[in-house]
Symmetry: C2
Subunit: 172 residues, 2 copies
DNA sequence: CCAGATAACTTGCACAGTTAAGTGATCGTG
DNA sequence: CACGATCACTTAACTGTGCAAGTTATCTGG
């Protein structure tokens, strides 16, 4: 951020009427969409959206096993937060911990059979919700537009972010 | 997940590869954009994004005055949350409370001169950040695409939401 | 005019998340 | 081998938020 934002310094760069409405619409989605997804998961599975992301990530990992720090990066959360999330999931019997035999500093989070059963149970409902809230209401062309817009915004937030690599697959 | 969920009775409705990447990109924006905006405001003005929305809304109201419940609806927050936020802003000297002379059940939040000075001070930096993170990286056509996409998603989340009215201005 | 219902707000409790300090394991250098 | 530095994780203190109960003000029906 350029520090020269003296209130009197640069007059231009304000938002015009259209930009303002676009911004308001985006803010609404930023607030409402996460809370709608959380509500569905909480109601149908008793789990938060963030916890779901962790479970989903673990379920796709080889051996259904991942390091806590890897999971934190994957789910874009801090390490302490991930530590507590894993503790909650462990208490519910869906995950167990083991020190990494290769390097004792790491802790491996391993999804149990009960955890696997849980995600098998809740995934269809969650995916259905994502589809209903995002893809169903969009036209055929809009998902691609949205994808490009999101990538551009992400690049503006942090140009050298690991996540960008996962998203940069035009695939067309 | 390996994508074999469809066999569990539910019809397909799974996400294909493109949809999946779009979804991942959107999730990243949903997580990162609010936190980037919060970071800028916290750093430059010592205020949260939510508090800023409240100050901004109040600053535009006639007489720089609004009912707490109106503010809560405007900023899409709960009434208890707004009550606490106003208490914090009051403690900082930017807002004061008065019972509504017309109906004593309401409480009016009134922006003080210090609050007005504060928003004059921080608005340019915040708007600049919004422009830099959202509008600058987009092509000329994309803001309109984004606006339409957001309105469709909002309508899917809650078709009879007050907020939609504010957003439904094609203006072209 | 009075009692109950309702509305707007406030408060108390529980809990998730961030930051900073603490713990244990591993690496690098002499 | 030893000692400090670094790394991954855990724990603790604090803040913010949602929910439910409490408080005060207004409306409604008799």
């Amino acid at each position: 951020m350029d520090g020269e934002q003296g209130s009197r310094g640069e007059a231009a760069r304000w938002l015009d009427a259209d930009e303002r409405l676009t911004w308001l619409a985006l803010v609404s989605v930023l607030v409402r969409l996460p809370s709608a997804l959380d509500a569905q998961l909480q109601r149908d599975a008793g789990i938060s959206n963030f916890e779901y992301q962790v479970m989903a990530g673990l379920s796709e990992a080889p051996g259904r096993t991942m390091r806590i720090s890897e999971l934190a990066a994957l789910a874009e959360g801090s390490l302490p937060r991930m530590s507590q999330v894993i503790a909650r999931l462990e208490k519910r019997g869906w995950v167990r911990r083991t020190p990494d035999p290769g390097d004792g500093r790491y802790t491996l989070a391993i999804m149990t059979d009960a955890g696997w059963a849980k995600i098998i149970e809740m995934a269809p409902g969650h995916v259905e919700t994502v589809r209903r809230l995002i893809f169903d209401p969009l036209t055929k062309a809009q998902p691609r537009q949205l994808h490009d817009i999101c990538r551009r915004i992400m690049r503006a937030i942090d140009p050298d972010d690991q996540c960008l690599d996962r998203l940069d697959r035009p695939s067309a």
